[in-house]
Subunit: 341 residues, 2 copies
DNA sequence: CTGTTAGCGCGTTCAA
DNA sequence: TTGAACGCGCTAACAG
């Protein structure tokens, strides 16, 4: 760390530290000439004010925390990209924390962040999170918090999501229209708002088409091998599904792998559709029909909201609960040519 | 932010702030009884010491910065995952900065980080970076810096990479052995060490097999459309390549797309191999032969080294320049069944 | 074993 | 328009 300080700059220029400080913040009570002198020396010495001293004094860290359940997931990566973009524009720094879907880790992080290390938090909760005390406790402190994607609706904090139920409905409806009647829905276990929204979209479509009795819901966890086993048994059971709708990108990859292993042909024997933000989904064999979530937009929008909160600006009424639509891209895994209805 | 302070805890317990401070740091000069009393109240009040005050005092931020050229790339995501893991184990926080391959942004970030905001930096340089003054200036400050993947070898800082030349050699050799003689190499433009290492591995293989005259090197940039156009013209030219070897994951996706568009069959008309850490590469049509880089390991190893530097521990001689091997996974895009040599 | 004192570097009074 | 003085909250040095 550089050990030039405001004080040294002041001594060098025979000014007081406060004058230098004010010059740097472009205070109107400093003469242009003094400002120029200060700026010249500051530039020459490549001086950067000590952020810890400044944070301590101002009680502002110019830093936000982003808490995500996993990172090897295109969705969260794209969200992060959006957040970083907006943070940078606002002169903010971004701390990243990964919970790995672990509730305890989430609790620990939120606890640790009560120290004033950050000016605000953006979080997508872990799938194992069922209790929200760690979040309410944090919000009660008065520090801004924004939820994205995996939100906690009972809390009084802004949420940015996509229209999960609607998207799931459309995907299911599409499968039904291409002739499927036994559609299995693979969801992440746990009590996530997002899972229940997607599930209800799926169920609603079944209901509208009188297929509710055929519902097949499989709850998978993070353990890849366990998921694989569940998918296998899905194909080996009496009443095989004729379509698979996965709520999580990762599960669609596992499903493809299992189909390969069991020599089940997509889409001939089973159709596939998934929530996925994988750009390469179009290159799969067969290319994967996908619900593409507006991840980048979700990141930007939630960051925007967070900075409004940090700046104590009023939120627009629409910013309390933002819903950005996903869009469905039909590809070979659920070909539209076969529409029979 | 919570406004409980050490001082208040001290008053409450009728102790001095320093005693409380020492108790929290488990100093041996504090009685067990006092420690217990302090800890009880601290737990009860959910007190977290102010990190800015602590950082200011100790001149330590317990934070590192990770600077990467792009985030929508599996390699960097996996590296980041490894880094976060080790950082967390060491009780460190991770700031993330994305340069988007922009040299100026990289300079600005390094300049900003001269303030003491972080205790160390891990960086993979932008492709447009040709001048390293911003990095040397930083290192001269005495703050630890570790390069990973895209390193700057002329600098006196640890580097963690994979065996790019060797991996590129093996991939090229594999293509040659499956009967290819006109192998095009698609690389990222710019002066990256990594690009030249991969290129030299490619060239070395051509040389060993007497194919140097057939070399086809295409330098692509970040602009997706421009890359697409370059790949198209590669296929439309007189002397078409019979294999494509891409140094960057993204280029392989574009190549697949162009092949689809031009109805060129992989592997019948052109074989493909790529540096790629995409788990879904095995699901491509055809599945993509890939050089898989030890991204997670690179992240962990470089973080380990950084923390050794931060703790002023001596590096093992092997830690100055760490090379973790990649491995080649042959799939349908360059089938081994066709080996003719 | 515990307390007192003195800053870390900056920004904000208040005074000139 | 500028300067002096104080304190943000914590920790290290020095006493006791």
């Amino acid at each position: 760390m550089s050990n030039i300080t405001l004080k040294k700059i002041a001594e060098e220029l025979k000014l007081s530290p406060s004058t230098v400080s004010r010059s740097l913040r472009d205070s109107h009570e400093i003469s242009q000439e003094t400002k120029d002198r200060v700026r010249a020396l500051v530039a020459k010495l490549d001086f950067q004010p000590n952020p810890h001293a400044s944070s301590l004094r101002k009680n502002k860290s110019k830093t936000i925390a982003v808490i995500i359940p996993e990172i090897e997931n295109n969705f969260f990566v794209q969200v992060l990209n959006g957040i970083e973009e907006i943070a940078q524009k606002n002169g903010y720094h971004v701390l990243i924390y990964i919970t790995h879907e672990n509730y305890q880790r989430e609790v620990d992080i939120l606890h640790m962040l009560r120290s004033g290390r950050v000016d605000g938090i953006m979080i997508s909760v872990a799938s194992s999170t069922t209790n929200f005390e760690h979040l309410t406790a944090y919000v009660e402190l008065g520090v801004p918090l924004v939820f994205f994607d995996r939100v906690c609706e009972i809390m009084d904090a802004p949420c940015v999501t996509t229209d999960d139920a609607q998207a799931a409905f459309e995907a299911t409806e599409h499968l039904i229209k291409t002739g499927c009647s036994k559609i299995a829905f693979l969801s992440l276990d746990g009590n996530l708002s997002i899972s229940s929204r997607r599930r209800s979209g799926y169920l609603e479509a079944l209901k509208q088409y009188g297929l509710l009795n055929n519902k097949i819901i499989v709850e998978c966890c993070l353990d890849d091998e366990a998921t694989r086993q569940k998918i296998r048994s899905l194909f080996l059971r009496e009443n095989k599904p004729d379509a698979i709708f996965t709520a999580i990108e990762k599960f669609s990859i596992t499903t493809y792998e299992v189909c390969k292993e069991l020599q089940i042909k997509i889409p001939e024997q089973v159709k596939m559709i998934s929530f996925s933000n994988l750009t390469a989904a179009s290159l799969f064999n067969p290319s994967l029909s996908a619900i593409i979530q507006p991840a980048y937009g979700i990141g930007r929008e939630s960051a925007d909201i967070l900075f409004r909160l940090i700046d104590r600006k009023k939120l627009l009424p629409t910013q309390k609960k933002v819903i950005i639509p996903s869009h469905l891209v039909i590809r070979e895994s659920s070909p539209v040519q076969q529409i029979v209805l």
